[in-house]
Symmetry: C2
Subunit: 325 residues, 2 copies
């Protein structure tokens, strides 16, 4: 069996060989730009590793691998427009490099193209594959809506936040694994284990991302810490902190995360971090991440498949969640 | 066999019975609003009539009928945002009633929902159906891009315009018919005839729409004439007029359709109409529409299917193109 790098390379090559440019170029140049920006290509890699895990031929799943990554990039493209994010992977986002209408329409086209990719290679369990993809796409849209709702919602609970990131992030990772497995004759209950592995992998990944915004090493993390604080984003960090605060600290934290707050940005980040440290937030969040990590491992352990097929999935989990165990 | 009204009623009932509201309501309220605004429901009606034409059970195609109309309404929703249109069917468009982000995301969700509908009922020729839908969606996006390009392109030719409306309008009508037929065991060459009928129906419909903007009876047409002229839209009317103009008239028409033109809107509409009338535009356009109408009829005539099954399609053609033959 192969290691993680093997599947990452397979995916890399797949994207290098694919032609995204076509007429009208005003539509396809942004599609090509977006799909060539790179990124970690986690979803197609998970998909192919899952096919191999159950003894399938990964070539049969290449269309789906292209499709799931094209879909993921479509959601990033539209999210960047909705969030007014100027940069993605260090490059200007499509709505900034071109304009809003180009971002809307080339995004729509990428979603349409993802279906073309999914339909490229028929498979015995095609209907299950397509239904999984369709339902996941609906869920991801719902997750993005909850995320936007939370910006204006004063009392977001931890449970609501976890439901949101489950939809917005975890189900697509889980679907990538499930779809990969559906290109084999893996039994449904094994696929279910794999899906649940993906859910907890996704939750751990997102919580880790939230943690790094507060406690990341800028040199390693590659971006300035505290951005979620500057943006008043109600991530796992402030929502967990609120459950640990006394009344005074809670009021202060709410005030800092409101638009009424008058201190400058760096002062604000420092003040928020002071509260996080006073309530002992970091180990609590690390524990929560570890819980998701352990649950992911348990589902992988429970899976009746060769251990060397699971190895790349364990590798990916360790890479994403920054743990070496 | 049944008449056109029978299938229109079947579609009407289908939409009345369908539940579009769900959580989060911020996402689904605009979906419900858009899908309940009505409209002529031409595409699902064509789809069911095509299923019946080849002896199929229309119930088996209900999912696809919901899917194709949901997709069509998604394209209108995003087009209205891109074109900044304030009204659709006399009601505020989604981006005006809510906001731009809601229009983007609820549109994306409608496209995702259209796939759920298409996958609701499996069919023996499922893969052909889904591929037709996926490829058509890509083509419709390309058509919209050409339409946006033409706004800034100084020398749009008649051929380019016809290719654009083929993609933007005709292929979805043709796909509706083809997909309907794919729910039966109709032979491929008969489906091809039906598809071509749809293409020419679509072209005739769009050219008729262009004609009505200049020559429609406001009382019957339901909207003010001359809007395309006010918007400098290079429709079939000015593009055909340019082929009939002398040099002086052509220069004047180009000037009137440019942003440099200084006369007021009503004066502008009158001046453009004067040129249209001077070059004898109306009968030429009517002839072009009639040509498409006749081609549509020829494909329908060539179709090896019961005449009473074709009757609702002839009815729809006559209704859309405003002819009673």
């Amino acid at each position: 069996m192969n290691n993680l790098k093997y599947y990452l390379d397979e995916v890399q090559q797949l994207f290098e060989q694919e032609q995204f440019l076509a007429e009208p170029q005003e539509l396809y140049a942004p599609v090509d730009y977006t799909l060539r920006l790179g990124g970690k290509r986690i979803r197609p890699t998970l998909l192919l590793a899952a096919t191999a895990l159950f003894g399938g031929n990964t070539t049969a799943a290449h269309g789906a691998a292209l499709g799931i990554e094209t879909f993921h990039n479509f959601t990033l493209l539209h999210d960047d427009l909705m969030d007014r994010s100027p940069l993605r992977r260090g490059q200007p986002t499509v709505y900034r490099k071109w304009n809003e209408n180009t971002a809307i329409l080339s995004g729509d086209t990428m979603y349409a193209l993802s279906w073309r990719y999914f339909l490229r290679q028929p498979a015995p369990r095609q209907l299950d594959i397509l239904r999984c993809f369709a339902e996941t796409a609906i869920g991801v849209c719902e997750g993005q809506q909850y995320d936007m709702n939370f910006e204006h919602q004063p009392n977001v609970t931890l449970d609501q936040y976890l439901s949101m990131i489950r939809l917005k992030t975890a189900i697509l990772l889980a679907a990538a694994l499930k779809i990969g497995a559906l290109y084999t004759n893996a039994p449904d209950n094994e696929i279910e284990h794999l899906y649940n592995f993906g859910i907890h992998l996704g939750l751990a990944f997102q919580l880790q991302d939230d943690l790094l915004d507060g406690y990341g090493d800028t040199a390693v993390f590659g971006k300035k810490t505290g951005q979620d604080i500057r943006d008043n984003k109600k991530t796992f960090l402030p929502l967990t902190a609120l459950t640990l605060c006394n009344l005074e600290q809670a009021a202060r934290l709410r005030h800092l995360f409101s638009n009424n707050n008058t201190c400058n940005e760096e002062e604000k980040v420092r003040n928020v971090m002071d509260i996080y440290n006073a309530v002992g937030l970091r180990p609590i969040v690390e524990q929560a991440i570890d819980n998701e990590f352990q649950k992911a491992c348990q589902y992988l352990d429970a899976l009746n498949a060769p251990e060397d097929g699971k190895a790349p999935l364990r590798e990916l989990l360790a890479t994403l969640v920054g743990r070496k165990k």
